[in-house]
Each structure stands twice: as C-alpha cells, then as structure tokens.
C-alpha cells in the first residue's frame, strides 16, 4: 500500500498520511465491510479513493502555478500525421527482454517518482489510475493535444531514466560477479 501511494504521490510524508487515513477510514467503516472482496482489495479501494482526491487537489495547484511550455503540436508533421517530426530515442538494450526481470520494475517505480510534478501527475492519473482523457484534461486545465505532449515527454523521461539506471544496476552486478 505504501509503495502504491508513494509512487503516485512522490512524497514519503503524504504517502504515509494517506495510508494512515486509509486504515482509520477502514476502522470506522468496519461494519460496512461484508467480506465480499478480500480485505486487501477493500483497503486498496479506500486508498485509491483518497489518492485520487489528493491528485485532483495537486492538479489544481499545478494548474495555477504553471505556465504553458512550448509544444510540438504546431509542426507540419504533427498536423498531417499526428506525430512530431523527431524520432524517439533508441534503446541500448532489448526492452522486451528486460520486462521479464523483476528487478527492472523496481527501477521503473523509482523512475516514476523522478518525473517532474506536472508529468508525474498526468502520467499517474491517465496511465496508472486509468482516468479518462477528458477527466485528466479537466483536472489539469489543458487541451487533449497538450496532455498528449505532456504524456509523451513523461514517457521519454521515463525511458531515459530507465536506461540510465538499469545499465548502472547491471554494470554493478557484472562487476560484482567478476570480482567473486
């Protein structure tokens, strides 16, 4: 539960608060829990509810304080084809192979917490919590094309972070093995 909250909220203190609030709310609502779902998924339901409330509040703050960064939606390529004119960066390892390794996903969760605030909010709401495009746009006060740009940047940032940290981690393991 703590990981779930922390990855999405990026703050130890807030994640801890939310977990605590979840338990408190669960205790108060004990009678209503009828054992239809497992205790874990019941608690996760409460946690998600609180988390989304928090994300909404955070989105409202970001909306007020942020200025619109320049987008790539005005390039000709974007207008004609719906993609920007530059190519996404190449990977230095085969990502699909790496997906099979559990350790990779721990690096992934670390990288999620390193995205900047706006990207993190957009990515968390849209991709991790599965909120609809309309809903996320409304919360962040942006147009759909613009959300798309933010998400693309978030994915790019994630990719760069994954690559760097995964290679670093693997190099460490290899050196360790060589030393032993």
């Amino acid at each position: 539960m703590f990981r779930y909250a922390y990855v999405r909220l990026k703050s130890h203190a807030v994640a801890e608060d939310i977990v605590q609030e979840t338990f408190l709310a669960a205790m108060k609502a004990k009678e209503r829990y009828q054992g239809r779902s497992s205790e874990r998924s019941w608690l996760m339901g409460i946690l998600r509810h609180k988390l989304i409330d928090y994300l909404r509040k955070a989105a409202r703050e970001v909306k007020l304080e942020d200025v619109e960064p320049e987008g790539f939606e005005d390039t000709l390529m974007f207008k004609e084809v719906g993609v920007p004119h530059w190519r996404p960066p190449k990977w230095h390892f085969n990502p699909r192979k790496v997906f099979e390794q559990k350790e990779f996903w721990d690096v992934f969760s670390d990288c999620l917490t390193k995205l900047d605030k706006r990207m993190n909010l957009a990515f968390t709401m849209k991709e991790l919590e599965g909120m609809s495009t309309e809903e996320v746009c409304q919360e962040l006060g942006v147009e759909p094309t613009y959300l798309w740009v933010i998400l693309y940047r978030a994915r790019n940032g994630l990719k760069a972070c994954l690559e760097k940290n995964w290679l670093k981690k693997n190099k460490g393991v290899k050196e360790l093995n060589a030393a032993v």
Binding site: E80, S109, G130
Partner: protein
C-alpha cells in the same frame, strides 16, 4: 487500411489494450509496417506495455525494502489506530 493520423489518435487517447481485438490487430499491423509513424508509435505502444507490466508487478510482487513503510512509520500508524480505537 488505417491512416497514420487515426493510429496516432487511437494511441493518444487510449491504452491500445483496451481496444477491441480487431482494431488492435489493425493498429499493430500499421505500426509495424509504417515508415512514417511507425518508430514513434512503436515507442508509445512499448511504453503502454511497460506500464501494464509494471501494474501487474505492483500487484503481485512485494515492494523492495526502500519502498516499504519504515519501522518508525509503522509504529506511528499503530499508535494512531490505537488512539482512534480508545476514542470510540
């Protein structure tokens, strides 16, 4: 045959896994063959796959130690629950 713009739009608004199978096959086919939008949209698809894998991992595998609630925090949690219990 789907057009690049339709493919990009479909990938922009939704996780392609949530689309009906027929549409998914069409998208994949286009993205793997197209020289114009292929590289870009393959990346988007890959990252959507990554996210799905991650959510599964999050559900099934225990968190690494640095992403667990610390002992202090657990203690604080238990204390506040006890306080609440005493109050009611």
């Amino acid at each position: 045959m789907l057009r690049c713009k339709q493919v990009s739009q479909a990938l922009a608004s939704d996780d392609y896994w949530e689309l009906p199978l027929r549409k998914r096959i069409g998208l994949r086919l286009h993205v793997f063959l197209c020289v114009v939008c292929g590289p870009f949209n393959r990346f988007i698809m890959l990252m959507q796959d990554a996210k799905r894998h991650y959510l599964k991992h999050e559900q099934e595998d225990p968190p690494p130690p640095h992403l667990c609630l610390s002992c202090d925090a657990k203690q604080r949690l238990v204390e506040s629950l006890n306080r609440e219990n005493d109050a009611t």
